[in-house]
Structures are given as C-alpha cells and as structure tokens.
C-alpha cells in the first residue's frame, strides 16, 4: 500500500515514515503544499497523512486537489490546530479522520487501520479467502491459525489483493502499490508475475486452494476458491 506523508516538521516526518514503513507501506513524503499536490495528482495513494500548516499554503488545498482527481485515498489530518472549526472543515473537505497533535503512534496506527477498513469496506482487521486469513494489523498470513512464511513483497501483494477481495487488481496498480511510482514498468510487471508465481507455489504447498485468480491480460483477483 502506498502512503503520502505531508508534514513540514522533519523529525515528525521521519518518525511517521519509520512507523508506516513497519506497517508495510511504501512511502512518499512532501514538506510543501506544491510537492504534495503534484504527488497526489500524479500518483495513487491508499493513505494520506496531512499536516494543515504548510510553509507554502494551507493543507486544505491539498484535500481539494485530491478530491478533484476523483481519488478515494483515505485521509487523516494531523494538526496542532485543535479547533472544532478546523476539524469540521477537514471532514467536510473529505478527510476521513482528524488527529490533533500531539498524538501517540499507537493511536495513529489504530486510526489508519480504521480508515483503511472503511475505505475498503471491510469490518475486521483481517480478510479471509477460503481457508486463508490475511491479517492486516500485524503483517501476517495464516492458514487455519498456522502462520505461513512469506517474504515482505509477497505479503504486500497478498495484502493488497485481500483489501480488494473479489475485485480485479491490475498488475500496474499492484506494482504501484507495492513499490511506488518510481519503479520502471519495464521490469516491474515481470517482477509481479514472478512473485505471484512464488506466492501460488507457497500457497499450494500449504494446500490452500486456488485463491489468486488471473484475469487474463489485466491482473489478479483474490476470491474464496
């Protein structure tokens, strides 16, 4: 999954970055409104953490830009401005949550999971596909309560498919959400193919049914087999 952190305070930005990295996000950062707006129109993000007071403008502008692109990125506003007015305005501008500074990372994590669940319309912190369970909150996959050993990339692919269960995920989108936009599609697509191959092999070794369906020419889809 991809996250964009818009925060001009370097120390906070760094700790948010480290924290989200542990949560398995691919991260881009911006310290200015202009950079944030470019990134948000150019790329696809699942999560946006937005500081309102930016050196070159108001964070609300970033929200309007995001809205104008039609993206359904889950957004959490992080702000030292705790006023009710700002909270209401933020929610009206389409943000999913509002977290006043200072906040604890634990609370942020919980809220991120909550907004992502809402975005992907799932109710729990896990997604089941057949006998397979993908845990969204502690980066594991299990089969009948027995964890399956997957590499980081494999877990990220599976998690993204799980979040979009029963929907077709294009190989492009998959590549973008796992490695970000920087990777050249010249080899990222082959790379997705080889990872899916490995993933299927591991799952079939564990006798998980064929939960990853190939949608010919387009991408993949996770289903109850």
């Amino acid at each position: 999954m991809r996250a964009l952190i818009v925060e001009d305070e370097p120390l906070l930005r760094e700790s948010l970055e480290n924290h989200l990295e542990k949560e398995g996000f691919t991260i881009d950062t911006a310290e200015r409104k202009q950079t944030a707006e470019q990134l948000i129109t150019a790329d696809e993000y699942d999560l946006l953490l937005l500081d309102l007071g930016l050196p070159d403008g108001d964070g609300f502008d970033v929200l309007s830009t995001l809205k104008s692109t039609g993206a359904d990125t889950a957004t959490i506003i992080l702000s030292a401005r705790g006023e009710l007015e700002d909270r209401v305005k933020g929610l009206e501008f389409g943000s999913d949550d509002y977290l006043p500074k200072p906040f604890s990372m634990l609370e942020l994590t919980a809220r991120i999971h909550a907004v992502l669940r809402r975005r992907y319309k799932i109710h729990d912190n896990f997604v089941k596909a057949g006998s397979l369970t993908v845990h969204l909150d502690h980066n594991t996959v299990s089969l009948n309560d027995h964890p399956i050993d997957l590499t980081d990339s494999e877990y990220r692919i599976l998690r993204y498919l799980a979040l979009n269960k029963n929907k077709t995920v294009t190989r492009f989108a998959l590549s973008e959400h796992i490695w970000g936009d920087k990777v050249d599609e010249r080899f990222s697509l082959d790379f997705i193919n080889s990872h899916i191959k490995n993933l299927r092999k591991k799952l079939s070794e564990q006798n998980v049914g064929d939960v990853i369906k190939t949608v010919y020419g387009i991408g993949y889809r996770l289903e109850d087999s």
């Binding site: 202009q34 470019q38 129109t41 150019a42 790329d43 696809e44 830009t65 104008s68 692109t69 039609g70 993206a71 359904d72 990339s153 929907k167 077709t168 294009t170 492009f172 989108a173 973008e176 490695w179 936009d181 920087k182 990777v183 050249d184 599609e185 010249r186 080899f187 990222s188 082959d190 790379f191 080889s194 949608v215 010919y216 020419g217 387009i218 991408g219």
Partner: protein
C-alpha cells in the same frame, strides 16, 4: 587572426605605401627645385656673357684659353658649322669630365645659340650638380628617417590605442564565450564609451533578455501543461478503475478498458517526469543542503534490491565511503535511482553491476557500470536527450525521460555527468562533482 593584428597590419601596409609615395615625390620635388635653381643660374650666366660680349669686356680668345670667365664655372663656345638643330635654350643633365684625365662629373648644362660679331656660336654653360646632390640627399635622408620614426610611432601608438578602445569589445567577447547553457543568460553587458560597442552591448543585452525570457516561458509552459494534464488524467484513471470492477461488463470490454488505463498511466508518468524536469529547470529545488551520498546510494540500492535479486545480478561495490556534498538530497536520490534502475534494466540476468569511486582530485567521482549491450559513441551524446531511447528498447512503454531527469539534475548542480562505453562491455555512467563547488 586577431582583430588588433589585422588593423595593425592594414595600418602598416597603408603607411608603407604612403612612405614610398612620399619618398618618391619628395625626391622628385627636391630635384625639380634644385634643377630650376641651377637652370636660373645658367640663364643668368648666359645673359651676363652676352652682355659682356656686347660691351667688348671679353673676347672669344680668352674664353677659349681659360674656359671660364670670372665667376662662371665653365663655358664652351663653338662656331656653328652646317646646320644645328637647336631653336631655343636647351637644358639637360650630363656626365662629363672638364679636363682630360679627370673623372667625369655630373653637370647641368645650358646650350643655346648666340650671335657674336655677326657669327653664330653654340654656347654651352655648365654648372656642377654634385654639391646640390649632397644637399638633396641629406634632405631626403632626413625626411625619410623622420617618416620612419613616424611609421614606428603610429604602429605602436595604434597598438596601444586599439588595445584600449577595443578592451570593452574583448571583454564582451570573453563574456559571450562564457555562455555555455541557458543558465548563463543572466549576464549583462555594461554601458561603454564607444558608441558602436555600446550598441553592440545593448543589442546583446536585449537579445539575451529575450532568450532568457523565452526559455523561461517555455519551461514555465511545460511545467504548467504537465501539471494541468495530471488532474484530468487522474480522473480518467479513477473512472477506468471503477469500470474495471463493473460486473455487467464482459471480459473483452474489461480488457480494452485495462488497455486504456495502462495508456493513461503511461501518460501520467510522462507528464510527471516532464513536470519534474521543468521544476528542476525552473529551480524549484534548493541546492544548498548537505547530501550524504553514501546513505543515498545505500538507500537506492536497497530500494532496488528486489529487482537486483530477481535478475540474479551481482553488485560489485568497490568504493570507499562517499563524501557529504552540497546539493539537493531528493534530486541526488532521483539521479542515483534512475541510473541504477537503468543499469538493472540493461544488465542481463546473472551478470554484474559495478559501483566504483576512483581516487581523484575531484570531490566525488562515481562510476556505475552495467554488463548490458552497451552504447555506441554516437549514443553517448544523445542518451540524455528527452524522449531518446536506444533502438533496443524502443518498443517498450518507457517514456525515455529518466536520463533527461538525470541530466537536468546535473545541470542544476553544475555537476558533470556522462556515459562511456564500459571497460569490457556495457555502459558506464560517470558522475563527477568538482571539489571547488
């Protein structure tokens, strides 16, 4: 040839002709003056002689004996025998010896026919030229020496005057020569004392200002255009996303929509890359931060690690710890990432990519070489140009802007970067950051 030398040589040639013409005319004028003076003397002698004959102060015999009378230098009288072809006074210069056995000398002579006691005689009066000639010579030599001195003085004088009056011109030329890229258009040529040079400088100022403005308009346009394109492209993309999961569409339609989406994503990447280049060119990035190049290199390698492993590529890193340099960290990362990604793409499976930092006097010399098909000499020039791709990967969806981004980053920081044909095979990218930056 230098302008100053050209003007000096032209001056020398003109002066030389002047000198020759002045010398010849002076010689002719002096000679004419001397002869006219001598001729007047001769004429006087003649009249004097005739007068004396008429007054019987002198006889033919005396003249025959001594050949001269009083102050007369030398006269000869010969009776006319037969017909003589002499109508009037005839002046000429001759070489003659007066007494037998003496060497010949130069004389001016006047021949005329006079009547003495009813008989016609040819009278020849001589006047020596030698004395006058030495005077003529002295005058000539003196004048020529003066002219030569003048010649020298004008030559060196010209040199100095030219050097000084042309100084602003040479400074303009050297400034113009300093223009290497569109980043150098912001120089101004000063107002100078010489009208023409002033006009030149003002014209150049106007031209450079126009060029700079037009470059910046162009860059600004690219930036605005690519920025404006991104939003509608995002909208189309999200719409296609929705369509892709529309259950009522058949497989074929979904496939077509997915193709549309792929094209849109490419277009977005293209716009985004153009936007990045124009933002770099428009100096939207500050370059006065500290870059820990070692960290960035390590970070870029780890970001590409999955792809490196996927192709079983061996990374040979032989550099010492890289220095901290001045510049923009984000852009340096983008540069290294693009180059490494390019190397990973071009290197075949199970081969090697080497990263070296040879010892140099420069602050940093980084070489990243791949084992791919390499590039030709011709391509090393073109490889950084926008939309330039090697023939080998022409068919892929790559937008061909990765290396253009690299180049714009190098230009912004005034770093030197280029591709070379690799030592064994493949291509080697060099990044040289001079120590004096």
């Amino acid at each position: 040839m230098k302008l100053r030398s050209k003007i000096s040589i032209a001056n020398l040639i003109v002066n030389f002709f002047f000198l020759v013409i002045a010398g010849i005319s002076l010689y002719l004028i002096v000679q004419a003056a001397v002869f006219s003076e001598l001729d007047e003397h001769l004429e006087n002698h003649k009249s004097d002689l005739i007068e004396r004959f008429e007054n019987n102060e002198i006889s033919l015999q005396t003249i025959d004996e001594i050949g001269s009378i009083g102050t007369y230098e030398w006269i000869e009288l010969q009776p006319v025998s037969g017909s003589v072809d002499l109508d009037e006074d005839e002046y000429s210069s001759v070489s003659k010896s007066r007494f037998r056995g003496e060497p010949a000398e130069r004389y001016r002579q006047l021949r005329s026919i006079i009547l003495i006691d009813g008989r016609e005689y040819i009278l020849t009066v001589y006047e020596e030229i030698a004395g006058w000639e030495s005077i003529t010579g002295s005058i000539l030599i003196g004048t020529l020496v003066l002219l030569l001195i003048w010649y020298g003085v004008t030559f060196f004088g010209n040199e100095i005057i030219l050097r000084n009056t042309l100084k602003p011109f040479f400074s303009t030329v050297s400034k113009l020569r300093g223009i290497r890229s569109e980043n150098d258009f912001n120089i101004t040529f000063p107002t100078v004392g010489t009208d023409e040079l002033n006009e030149l400088n003002q014209a150049l100022n106007t031209m450079l200002a126009e060029l700079e403005a037009s470059f910046s308009r162009q860059k600004q346009f690219i930036q605005n255009a690519s920025h404006e394109l991104l939003t509608p492209l995002s909208i189309i993309r999200h719409k296609t996303d929705e369509l892709l999961n529309n259950e009522s569409l058949d497989e074929e339609s979904v496939l077509e929509i997915s193709k549309i989406q792929q094209t849109i994503i490419r277009l977005k990447k293209l716009s985004n890359a153009l936007l990045t280049i124009s933002r770099v060119e428009n100096k939207h990035y500050s370059t006065d931060g500290d870059i820990n190049t070692q960290d960035i290199l390590t970070e870029a390698i780890s970001e590409l690690q999955a792809f490196i492993e996927n192709k079983n590529i061996t990374l040979e890193i032989t550099n010492n710890k890289l220095p901290v340099i001045r510049g923009n960290t984000e852009l340096f990362h983008s540069l290294v990432y693009n180059i490494l990604q390019n190397a990973v793409y071009h290197t075949p499976e199970q081969t090697t990519i080497t990263i070296e930092a040879p010892e140099t006097e420069d602050l940093l010399h980084l070489v990243i070489s791949d084992s791919g098909p390499g590039i030709s000499d011709e391509e090393t020039e073109k490889v950084f140009e926008r939309f330039e791709r090697s023939a080998e990967n022409g068919g892929t969806g790559n937008h061909g802007l990765g290396l253009a981004i690299v180049q714009s980053i190098c230009k912004l920081h005034e770093w030197n970067c280029f591709f070379e044909i690799g030592r064994e095979k493949g291509a080697a990218f060099h990044l040289i950051i001079p120590a004096d930056l």
